[in-house]
Symmetry: none
Subunit: 420 residues, 2 copies
């Protein structure tokens, strides 16, 4: 059984609004075990709506539609729905009482536009909307498709995210589950860092080729990390889960040094958790990353428990005065060097009075590179209570991505040290 999603709204097509409804619906339906076949995004136009509904009904047994209903948009979608299903709008007493109740709570009189919202297609099951004035509508229609029996289900919902979400959770997904008894799905995402997609693929090739047919792998690269998503499908939830977890375990054993977490975990949160467990504090000394590492760390609620602060030494005089780096070191080795980044880490450790320090110096670009030290060259040092070590990276040529990649590499170096 396939499900499709149609999102209606000119604002989506001109990119004024990012379509978070589609991804939310896709996620919830996948988690519930349904296969989402397609999203179709169209404007508020009758012909487009009719065409999209017809084609979706030919491909999929269930078509969920969001958007295009509401006090200012009603005319097009609702009359188009009536034509598609061969029905007409009739005044719905119950729906009108809901609208009145919502207006009463806000202390307003019902406007004529909102009164119109109580007119609903005669041949549909209407779905209450606790959070707004536009009801959902559940239709069924014969769409002749070879090899398929039964009617196609169409459900129309408002496009306001929290109204749609409440309807999906409380009514539509439970109803679909009752009718279709979906197969069980289990997803697990393994987060890797510090290795490119193609190198990773080469390392795990054998494991990937031997995956059972019910488990699929997807590579999801982002600047500075590659996520590996395992999806298992089957009839028994427990056995699928066990199978996916088993394969994830095998994968972890092949590339332990590249994995930093799973699912929605953030490396800055993982580092924070490890520091908290050790009851240790952290500071940063940043040059080319310009405060981005500090920003990532402090974006985690509760980070003040372990993160004390940073010296952003963008200018060399700050490196000398605030971090105590000797002019001689900078002159002899250059500001992007193992020696300078090591002195930055040691200087910050004593001056910020912290247990651990991440120090970074590099050439983010677009200017400032030389043949010997190109844009993308970054030195990272980690100071711990026991030692200081540094590592060189060659990242790339985009300023924005160099900053992001350097920050993730630095956090990962610290993470590995905290685990060792």
């Amino acid at each position: 059984m396939n499900i499709e999603i149609i999102n209606i709204g000119d604002e989506l097509l001109i990119g004024q609004v990012v379509n978070t409804n589609a991804s939310w619906m896709g996620q919830q339906l996948s988690l519930a075990g349904f296969k989402v076949q397609q999203f179709t995004i169209i404007g508020d136009e009758r012909e487009q709506i009719l065409d999209a509904m017809w084609k979706a009904g030919e491909r999929s047994e269930v078509v969920l539609i969001s958007g295009g209903i509401g006090p200012t948009k009603d005319d097009i979608t609702k009359t188009t729905l009536c034509d598609f299903f061969g029905t007409r709008l009739v005044f719905n007493e119950e729906a009108y009482k809901d609208v009145e109740a919502i207006f009463a709570r806000r202390g307003y009189e019902v406007t004529e536009l909102n009164r119109q919202q109580a007119y609903l297609p005669e041949e549909c099951t209407s779905i209450p909307n606790k959070l707004g004035t536009a009801r959902g509508m559940w239709f069924e229609k014969d769409i002749p498709v070879q090899g398929r029996t039964g009617k196609t289900i169409y459900v129309s919902m408002p496009g306001v995210p929290f109204e749609m979400q409440a309807m999906m959770k409380e009514y539509i997904i439970p109803e679909l589950k009752t009718r279709f008894h979906p197969k069980s799905f289990y997803h697990k995402t393994i987060l890797t860092q510090g290795i490119g997609e193609s190198f990773l693929a080469a390392l795990i090739e054998d494991w990937e080729n031997n995956l059972p047919p019910s488990v699929k792998l997807a590579y999801l690269p982002q600047p500075g990390m590659v996520r590996l998503r395992l999806t298992g499908t089957g009839d028994h939830e427990a056995s699928i889960r066990a199978l996916v977890e088993e394969e994830a375990g095998k994968l972890s054993a092949i590339i332990p040094e590249h994995i930093f977490g799973e699912d929605d975990e953030l490396i800055e949160a993982i580092v924070g958790k490890l520091l908290k467990e050790k009851k240790c504090t952290l500071g940063t000394a940043e040059s080319c990353t310009g405060g981005y590492i500090a920003h990532l760390l402090t974006s985690i609620p509760g980070s003040s428990a372990y993160y004390k602060g940073s010296i952003i030494a963008y200018d060399n005089t700050i490196k000398e005065q605030m971090l105590g780096i000797s002019k001689g070191t900078i002159e002899k080795f250059g500001v992007v060097s193992s020696e300078v980044v090591t002195e930055m880490a040691i200087g910050a450790q004593s001056r910020l009075d912290v247990d651990y320090v991440i120090a970074v110096s590099g050439i983010a670009g677009p200017d400032g590179g030389t043949e010997e030290k190109p844009v993308g060259l970054v030195w990272i040092a980690i100071a711990t209570p026991d030692e200081v070590f540094s590592k060189k990276f060659l990242l790339g040529d985009s300023r924005e991505r160099n900053i992001r990649r350097a920050a993730l590499q630095a956090l990962n170096l610290l993470r590995k040290n905290l685990l060792a």
Copy 2:
């Protein structure tokens, strides 16, 4: 002439990734004067790709495809494209050299998987990718549609956002403009800061109601700012431009104090430009913003010309030791106070040896608020060569948005002072 977009990727359908590519592409195409007809989002499956490409080609003259190409195995798009266009993959010497060059810059050998990326469909114009290893592919095909002459254009691009964006800007949109001469559009976006959408709407109501019919206004709110986009449409570029500029001028005269820039300008770049003109330097002293202001400032190429560095004093001991704030001031007034933030600004000014300082202290949340000092309370101080002043803000209850809003407010305070 209609354009459609197809995004390929199982990760989109299961909601693991929000489809920002579609909205970005929709926005850029609309701004260039094209009509975007539909987005279709499908999985990495041959039959789905063929079906979506065929149907899109029947509706629209141009079909832009992103995703489904890249070095690893989940990518079946390229062979499907070959079948659709009746061609085959051949090794492309030029494409291979590009792949080699990218690997050489990163100091790696080309892997077999990446070598495969140099195989491209014989019957296509390949589009260079400066930022990655997957080239774009431009195809043309006869799709018999009544009343239409000429071939349908299909362009396949990688799904990695910055790679796709560079290709769209540098190659695809210019080429489509040359071929189709879309109606003239002229857009101008006025950037406002420090005032909410509904208050802004009330201030400019009369002006908005008197806009000529060929000029449309859209409110585009974001955390910390509201963008006002004016769009003029017509046959003569010069007259549309003049009309939009005239209306923008009227708007500027109504709310001069709320406007900080226009179009894609960033407040961190505007502040940088003003500092450069004055030949002055800037430092920051951040508590609740945790390095985010430093990050914004240093994300601008060339910022090292005026930005010297920052002390991120997340912990109070850092405020005392590194910024010289007296324990007494913190004890008497609390760390989120005009007094402390003023001392932070003065302390940073002398210690970082800079002309201007932005200092911020606040309660980002979710914890740490009290009845007297709630989450969202932020004090900002600006030190200049002549004075220090501070201002209080009440921002909201989301940590992420508080950090963003505080940073924008701080940069705007400095901007106004630099202009005064």
